[in-house]
């Protein structure tokens, strides 16, 4: 039996030194396959560069031209989150994106950057976003308070969404595997639980990409609101 279900979410230590930051950096450096801008690429680089170009077009086509300078930053964030989520599915590995500290460290600067950019370059335009067009004036004070709160909640939602999704998926896998270990007696139940386990794994693979995409897409939406 597991000591406690949340044991795997503690950062591993080596000689008293927390390894979390090393894992985060190493995965981004080694798992991402560079293409060196060659015309004829090898198979893995072709895959990586096709994926990256498709994602860049998907995320940045609805954004104005002045926001395209954010492409490098946001695509790097996408690949970072995606690779870390995927490698967290291997056995005995530690998923760094399941830690709230890392996700808030990614969400707060990105959101704050868009806010500061909008507030300094066009302050009245960005303040006008707080009150949608055509609202009756009696509702105005409440609506402005609500819109301000929703703007402030955004980085918290970004970070917690990623943390909660990854943690919940890993936890479900742990629980189902605990059930599988103890279920050797009845064969139909074993097959049912095993199929649930396989489906959960496939779901986790999808979630690892979807969460990365949602994170970057939301930041691009916040960027679109604040562009000149």
């Amino acid at each position: 039996m597991m000591m406690s279900l949340f044991n795997t979410f503690e950062s591993p230590y080596f000689l008293g030194f927390p390894l979390m930051i090393f894992i985060a950096i190493l995965i981004s450096l080694t798992m991402f396959i560079p293409d060196n801008n060659l015309l004829i690429k090898n198979q893995s680089s072709m895959l990586a560069s096709t994926f990256l170009k498709t994602m860049t077009k998907e995320i940045f086509s609805p954004i104005k031209k002045s926001g395209h300078s954010w492409a490098l930053l946001l695509m790097t964030t996408l690949m970072f989150i995606f690779l870390n989520n995927i490698t967290g599915l291997l056995p005995y590995t530690f998923t760094v994106t399941s830690q709230l500290s890392l996700n808030m460290a990614m969400a707060i600067p990105l959101w704050l950057g868009t806010i500061i950019m909008g507030a300094t370059s066009q302050p009245s335009h960005s303040l006008a976003h707080l009150l949608p067009e055509g609202t009756p004036m009696t509702l105005a004070p409440f609506l402005i308070v609500i819109e301000s709160i929703s703007i402030i909640i955004r980085p918290l939602a970004l970070g917690v969404r990623l943390t909660a999704n990854i943690t919940a998926g890993h936890l479900l896998i742990h629980l189902v595997s605990l059930a599988l270990i103890n279920l050797t007696k009845s064969l139909p139940l074993l097959f049912l639980t095993f199929s649930v386990f396989i489906l959960l794994l496939i779901l986790e693979l999808a979630v690892s990409f979807i969460q990365a995409y949602v994170f970057v897409m939301l930041v691009s939406l916040y960027l679109e609101e604040n562009l000149i």
């Binding site: 795997t8 591993p12 396959i33 090898n42 198979q43 291997l90």
Partner: protein, 88 residues
């Protein structure tokens, strides 16, 4: 022993066993030297297994297997309480 002057530039697998302490003494341990060693190692692995026309999966799988084994070593103190037998 005859090629002491070029000992430091030789790769580790080419150094003879008797010359090994001298190779360690003459190696470049500055940050630039360490970084260069990592870069050389990465480029060797990349050009041999990944930067080929076909075959991407075995190249990455070796790295992932090594990563899983290293992770097992790092979390051993946490997971040894989950083992079903005390002595293997």
């Amino acid at each position: 022993m005859a090629n002491k002057s070029v000992l430091a530039e030789q790769r580790l697998l080419d150094v003879k066993l008797g010359d090994l302490p001298q190779w360690f003494a003459k190696a470049n341990y500055s940050p630039k030297g360490v970084l260069g060693a990592f870069q050389r190692g990465y480029q060797r692995y990349f050009n041999k297994y990944i930067n080929v026309r076909r075959g991407g999966l075995p190249g990455i799988s070796m790295i992932l297997t090594a990563y899983v084994v290293a992770s097992y070593y790092f979390v051993y103190d946490n997971t040894k309480h989950d083992m079903w037998r005390k002595h293997h």
